[in-house]
Symmetry: C2
Subunit: 476 residues, 2 copies
């Protein structure tokens, strides 16, 4: 290890995933010199082992399910998907795990890319250890932004290392469908990957420790998706913990808390995420290695005036789009502070990530889809808002039946009774993924319920569920 | 014809389509006795010969097109749709042209249905001539609402009656696909029916008098749909008028303005609508039979204090959903006036149809779909707003490619530069139909552009086009 040089920048960004890229985009746009450090592929988890490949795997599954609900078209799509073709398409959307395009984009915005392992080395200082061992020291006049994201959390289980378990990375990049797949978990990754691989040819067993799926959403989301997964052939076992795993003659054996043995060819642990902060030199600035980094709404780490934590690492909302949002905000806040401009930090100002508290959207790309934004009823009540939940079934919406025979879905809006605005909305059903943004605009814009009556949904779309929700609120 | 009785109601509604039904729903909810008169099927044009059957015909076409863009699924859907199965499904969604369900609904809200031809017979008076010739006179203490809708407008062409042309009614209710179909027109009905019947087995020739399709939308909508229709095999001839038609040995022959002969098995005229007001007794109250009825924003006819015109007949917006919106407003306004309650008639108040001016949404169910709300750039400029149009291609949105390979689409938002709010938005591309409601909420809620930055679209959905639009507005 040789120290070769030390270079000064205005801003140093640790991690070149979508979040880091967006910070750099904003700081460069403000004329701040910017270095960005990446140890793996530029583009990050999302581009290669998360959003992109998972959605590429899921989209044909969803389109096939849609087609199967339409007499006149359904007959032709009864057979299985062509799995190699789906996987080949997935490979295209991950750019075959090559980051040339993203590097070119960084070059385009004239951010300097440093490949290697970045670590803080005291305030405003980052060292980069390149693959060849060369160490470069970068100093940041204005800010260091940590956007190193998360990795899968594996449980501390007897036998785990011997089974070579899948995480989200292997589940999204696998080259073939395992004959049998155990999925451990009940969250978004677990339900999406169970959906994908069951449709792509695996027999999936879903082992869920809790009572149901997607327990951060309204309860009916997990219920409807569990019903659909079971109908698709997934063996769902709720209230089931995994006590040990082993691989016997190539076969994975998971022993459950009740002593059942479940066999499979692969096992995916979708059991949460840990921050990529254990080896980035946090100790050199008085922070705890491996911890989530707490920030204020400008995304600046508590107790510092130069360190930002943006995206998953701050644990505000572990979602690519929300991290990108934070990146735009943080980049603008860094630029404003660097220029000595006034900080726009009143709620919904340009330099605070207010939406992180009030309006985080999420779409689960299963069949049916689940899409939610803002607070669930339970969350709103816990936050002390006086609210009422209004529920409707999509069977009352003409556009739902037209979308597909036997359409099953539900929607809920959570209305704040003091302010007569929306606190949250949840939609579950085929094709609802694009519907949630209307609720995001309503919540973000604090559009009163009275005004929402004038927002006419087109007939006959799924969006007419809005009318049913407003009617239910008015009449009950 | 014998006069049998005269019955007094609070409200009499002429026409039991979706608009009339919604007026009655609101006046009954306010406790006003309500009669509703219908000469054909309760449920109206939309339920039997417009929205419902057209969307039932189009949905499998769109789902097939979606599937064809997805390797792994596309191979199975190369063949034609099973047209009889599609038509049978359409028949289900029109309830086989029986209105029992809708009559039961009217009974449920305890509105009194009078079957027969309703005509005004002086102020606050309506006569109903039943099929058996019985005449009933209804009087309205508070209001008569005309919601008789429109019918297809046929041009005054030599030979027309001899060819038994299709209108939207025959096009949506046909029992089989004609081998060859001429569609005359370039609006929504023309493009939707060309899309449907071309996919269901007809060879379609589209004769468009003007330069392009959908000329009430942003120009790129018609352009993209014309490209797609041509690719689907439709023979589009723009700048082409029809000078005469005839049927020779069963074959329809249309002679164009340039003397070309176009042959087909059927010809559809989708050349506009005229109001159903020619034989409803308008002359008895000093109005012009056959005219569109001008109203104020409470939907009350100019110069009267008792007559309302709601839905297509007032020519404010010829769309089912907008008519239903007007019906809710008119019903509430009638109820408020009847009760002597204050009228909430400031803009966006509960008794004025403000959205008719600012935020009328429309979805064209073609492939690609076209969806727009508010003002186009041309309309906004004509209205004297200082605006800027911001355009982006969907190719810049990750969710678009994932939705389907080769995804082609565009979006535009029209920003009011004085108020920094949206005046209009247009989305063209597969699957955008549910996207437009987010723009409807933004326009209706007058959500400032600064705030829209906090409305985060989920990655990777089509809704992320919002982010691209905001970036384009910021950077250009």
């Amino acid at each position: 290890m040789t120290e070769t040089e030390s270079i000064a920048y205005d801003v140093v960004v640790l991690g070149a995933g979508p979040v880091g890229e967006n910070i750099a985009d904003r700081t460069r746009a403000a004329g701040l010199t910017t270095a960005i450090v990446e140890n793996e592929l530029v583009g990050g988890e999302c581009s290669y082992w998360a959003c992109m490949p998972s959605k590429a795997l899921l989209r044909p599954v969803i389109a096939q399910a849609d087609a199967r609900r339409l007499p006149g078209l359904s007959q032709s799509v009864q057979g299985p998907l062509d799995t190699p073709a789906v996987l080949a398409r997935r490979d295209t959307y991950t750019s075959h795990w090559q980051d040339d395009g993203q590097v070119a984009w960084l070059n385009g915005i004239t951010a300097d890319l440093y490949r290697g392992h970045g670590r803080l080395a005291g305030p405003r200082t980052v060292t980069v250890t390149a693959p060849d061992g060369t160490v470069t020291t970068l100093t940041a006049r204005h800010a260091v932004a940590v956007s190193t994201g998360t990795r899968a959390q594996l449980p501390d289980l007897p036998g785990l290392s011997g089974v070579k378990p899948w995480t989200s990375r292997e589940a999204t990049s696998a080259k073939a469908a395992p004959g049998r797949l155990i999925v451990v978990g009940g969250g978004v990754v677990a339900t999406e990957m169970a959906t994908a691989w069951q449709a792509l040819g695996s027999r999936v067993t879903l082992l869920v420790r809790g009572k149901g799926l997607l327990n951060r959403m309204e309860p009916f989301a997990g219920e409807l998706i569990a019903e659909a997964l079971a109908q698709a052939g997934v063996d769902i076992r709720t209230g089931t913990s995994v006590d040990s795993v082993s691989r016997e003659n190539g076969t994975v054996v998971a022993v459950t808390g009740t002593g059942d043995r479940v066999e499979a060819d692969e096992i995916l642990f979708a059991t949460g995420r840990v921050p990529h902060t254990d080896d980035i030199g946090l100790d050199t600035v008085g922070l705890e290695p491996g911890s989530w980094l707490e920030t204020d709404d400008t995304l600046r780490v508590t107790g510092t005036d130069w360190l930002y934590a943006v995206g998953d690492v701050n644990h505000r909302a572990l979602l690519t789009h929300q991290g990108k949002y934070q990146a735009r905000i943080a980049g603008a806040a860094i630029a404003a502070r660097a220029a000595g401009d006034p900080l726009l930090d009143e709620p919904w100002g340009a330099h605070v990530a207010t939406a992180d508290h009030d309006a985080v959207p999420q779409v689960v790309f299963t069949d049916p889809e689940a899409a939610a934004v803002g607070l669930s009823l339970a969350e709103a009540e816990q936050a002390g808002h006086r609210v009422r939940a209004v529920d409707v079934a999509f069977s009352t919406v003409a556009g739902a039946g037209l979308y597909g025979d036997g359409y099953t879905g539900r929607a809920r809006m959570v209305v704040d009774l003091e302010e007569e605005i929306l606190r949250g909305a949840t939609f579950v059903g085929p094709g609802v993924g694009e519907l949630v943004h209307s609720a995001t605009v309503a919540i973000t814009g604090r559009v009163p319920v009275d005004r929402l009556w004038h927002a006419v949904p087109s007939y006959p779309t799924l969006s007419e569920v809005w009318l049913r929700l407003l009617e239910a609120y008015r009449d009950n």
